[in-house]
Amino acid sequence: MIGLLIVSHSGQAAAGIREIAMEMGGDEETIAAVGGDPDGGIGTSIDDIQAALSDLLEATDGVVVLVDLGSAVMNAETAIEMLEGDEEVVIADAPVVEGALNAAASATSPKATVESVRESAEEARDISKL
């Protein structure tokens, strides 16, 4: 099972995206959401990202991270660099909502790998709305 981590500048946005993504598959143990700076304001916290990653890695074989923008990307990259072992964690270069939906759907496949889930998430870059 591949886990998903949604990182947004807003904790509420991250939780909401997670809620939408869980409609496609996954559960509380395999999809996590973090957002907000260390004081709870708009921003991201590397400690929260690290804590969420280590919880997910206990329940899954690897994690695909979906990020909104700016510091969310950099803090996720730094958190991944600081992992101790050879855990498989990658960031998907994808829009966070559509990417999370695609990733959640593809992560339900028994053959899913971190790479396959990342690819599905990144296919969301081409989704056209009109």
Partner: protein
């Protein structure tokens, strides 16, 4: 610079001076950031450096300069919350390994270069994108050249680096942002000074101010080259 204790004392004083400066300038930095960003740069950095001061108070008396520098980086990474956390903090953590044998002219150049390299890698920004890169890049290059090529005393090299950073900050005013939150504004970002470049200058100014207490040399310098380079560079010696 002298023995271990003195280096440690200088480093701790520099960190404290930086923390005080950021505290004094937090409103200024946030005002700059509210014009073209998300209005949190001053508050974020201040939260980070307040936490650094707490962390450092609790450190062992025998912690060396590398350990102290690494702790500063890790604390900024954890506490800043904005992009400045991984940028300043992550780069400081990575570059701290260059100080394993203490602070010398040589190791400080290596630190500066490692810091810049990590910053470019993490932020994926170049000179002219209207970011802290516009202040730190000329500063690091000027420092390296002043030490390695012009053989200047470290204090004078540092003063030139600060002067170069100041020019870099001025350079961010007329240009259009192409990285960071300000890039969402497009042309409307022109005419505003970049907050990240500004905080970089403040930090460098405080390092210089601290170094003046510990090092000998002239600080009344500017970064423009006082000498015209030779028309023909010295020929490389053939092995």
């Amino acid at each position: 610079m002298g023995d271990e204790t003195r280096q440690r004392e200088a480093l701790l004083e520099a960190i404290e001076n930086i923390a005080d400066r950021i505290d004094n300038e937090k409103k200024h930095l946030t005002d700059l950031d509210s014009a073209i960003g998300d209005a949190d740069h001053g508050a974020n950095l201040n939260r980070g450096f307040k936490a650094v001061m707490e962390k450092i108070k609790d450190m062992d008396d025998d912690a060396d300069v590398q350990e102290i520098t690494k702790t500063v980086g890790m604390t900024l990474v954890s506490e800043v919350g904005g992009a400045a956390g991984p940028l300043y903090g992550g780069s400081t953590m990575t570059a701290s390994t260059e100080l394993a044998d203490g602070i010398t002219a040589e190791s400080s150049v290596a630190f500066a270069e490692a810091f810049l390299e990590k910053l470019q890698d993490r932020g994926d920004a170049r000179v002219g994108d209207k970011t802290m890169i516009d202040a730190i890049t000329p500063a690091v290059h000027t420092y390296k050249k002043s030490i390695e090529q012009d053989d200047l005393p470290p204090l004078e090299a540092l003063a030139k680096a600060v002067d170069a950073a100041e020019r870099g900050v001025e350079f961010t005013v007329p240009i259009r942002a192409s990285k960071g939150r300000a890039s969402f504004l497009g042309w409307r970002s022109t005419g505003h000074q970049d907050p990240g470049a500004t905080s970089t200058l403040f930090i460098l100014e405080e390092i210089l101010k601290t170094a003046e207490q510990y090092l000998e040399g002239d600080t009344d310098v500017d970064a423009t080259s006082p000498t015209i380079p030779d028309e023909e560079p010295d020929e490389l010696e053939e092995e």
